[in-house]
Amino acid sequence: MKLVKAIIKPFKLEEVKEALSEIGVEGMTVTEVKGFGRQKGHTEIYRGSEYTVDFLPKVMVDVAVTDDLVAKTVDAIKGAAKTGKIGDGKIFVIPIDEAVRIRTDETGDGAI
């Protein structure tokens, strides 16, 4: 199993969710985050003083999937989240040793 961790532009979340549903991924966990990268933020002025908003709003989507689904999952996210403009985000694939569904005590692939 892998944890596919995608950092995307917030307004793409709905499309990513739909793309994942289409390939049969039924669960995900979403966190509001701030991102810092090549997309450089903007300089604003507040009461005459400049400041930089470095950290831009992003959404992090954590999806646990079975090994065979990893490639499809990554592709689905990539397809849905891409605008082609800087700041589109990253996907990281992280190994999972074990998964448990709390409600049923199921473990392994069945828990996802």
Partner: protein, 397 residues
């Protein structure tokens, strides 16, 4: 005025119940005006009235005609019946609003609506008529300028009855006597509420002079302002001393306590009387809130202490601090305030118990955890993280 109550109550409770609280307050003020129009006003004021119980009828155009000749509460009336109507309707709605704060975060919306309508329409005019409708309290010489007992004591003790019937919020009182505080979600909202109430009180008390005599009105402004300020300082310092940190919510309750305390005698007590009334109200309210929490009466906003307990205190205080020329008997005041509060308590207890055994008064445990906003209204107060595309900022170039 009701804006004040609505924002105070919303600020002192959890975000997940905010829509519910706002709807309740919109409802109460509205139903207060309407029921008062079609029944309550003419129930409360004299006419075919036996001195103890009142029957009402709709206000009609015949009641209109410039100056009105009804004389009530011993005060010659220098305002029109219409001003009086809107005033009294606000008072009536206030009584119900007080209850709303105490039962917040767990009461069923429908049941509360029925309760509030019945309270405003049928119960409040009865005690109101005892005094303002030339009833037996008026005959005894009872003095309650703008309703320490008739509005606030009434509301506070009705609230107490409801809280007893309803029980505390889930998770407030833990096994072993420990109390787990449930924090209000927005202190600015609560503060806005109290300041608006303070402002509104100038209107209530000033307006209750029922005339435009500038001497009277301005004296009432001063006693009202002084009592509120004294209540705030007293509660702030008492809470600082007792709980070690200056507690904003206690200071806010202290302002209201001072206001409730001065309401009965705003025109009748001495200047330094108003100062002392305010100070004592501020002290009382802190200990009263701690006391009710200890005996597991769960009142999220402190309404029972602020309105009920300080309402009684304020009524008695008129006799203690009466200025020269004002004759008020302590015993009469005591009888009057107890009669009113007891009646409110019993009536509310009966009505609310009937609702409890019939349609139920409490939301399910699930709904209480989830919040009444989703449960009863399907609406969140602050739907910020709703994850819809357009709810997002994006800073792509």
């Amino acid at each position: 005025m009701h804006l004040g109550f609505a924002t105070l109550e919303a600020g002192m409770t959890q975000a997940k119940n905010t829509v519910n609280i706002l709807v309740k307050n919109v409802f109460i003020i509205s139903v207060g005006i309407i029921t008062y129009l079609i029944y309550g006003f003419n129930a409360m004021y004299p006419g075919d009235f036996n001195g103890f119980f009142a029957f009402g009828s709709p206000v009609t155009m015949a009641d209109y005609g410039g100056e009105i000749d009804i004389t009530y509460g011993g005060t010659g009336l220098a305002m029109t019946a219409w001003t009086d109507f809107i005033f009294q309707a606000m008072f009536a709605a206030t009584a119900a609003t007080i209850v709303s704060g105490a039962v917040a975060e767990r009461v069923k919306l429908g049941s509360f609506m029925i309760f509030a309508a019945v309270l405003v329409m049928f119960v409040y005019p009865i005690t109101g008529s005892w005094q303002w409708g030339e009833g037996f309290l008026d005959a005894m010489g009872f003095y309650d300028f703008a309703g320490s007992s008739l509005v606030h004591g009434f509301g506070g003790f009705a609230a107490l009855a409801c809280v007893i019937v309803l029980g505390p919020r889930a998770g407030k009182y833990l096994a072993g006597g420990k109390i787990r505080p449930i924090l209000g979600h927005s202190m600015p909202l609560a503060t806005i509420g109290v300041f608006l109430l303070w402002l509104g009180w100038f209107g209530f008390n000033g307006g209750s002079v029922l005339s435009a005599d500038p001497g009277e009105v301005s004296y009432v402004f001063v006693t009202t302002g002084v009592a509120a300020a004294a209540g705030a300082l007293a509660a702030l310092f008492v809470s600082w001393f007792v709980v070690k940190k200056p507690d904003l919510t206690m200071a806010l309750n202290g302002i209201l306590a001072g206001l409730v305390g001065i309401t009965a005698g705003a025109d009748a007590v001495t200047l330094y009387g108003s100062l002392l009334i305010g100070v004592i109200s501020g002290v009382i309210v802190v200990f009263s809130i701690l006391f009710f929490d200890k005996i597991k009466i769960d009142d999220p906003v402190g309404a029972i202490s602020v309105h009920g307990v300080c309402g009684i205190w304020g009524t008695l205080a008129v006799a203690i601090f009466a200025k020269e020329g004002v004759e008020v008997s302590f015993v009469t005041q005591l009888i009057g305030t107890l009669a009113i509060c007891a009646f409110a308590f019993v009536a509310a207890f009966i009505i609310f118990t009937i609702l409890k055994v019939t349609i139920g008064v409490r939301v399910s445990a699930e709904e209480e955890i989830q919040g009444l906003d989703i449960g009863e209204h399907g609406q969140e107060a602050y739907p910020r993280f709703s994850l819809q595309p357009s709810n997002y900022q994006d800073s792509s170039d």
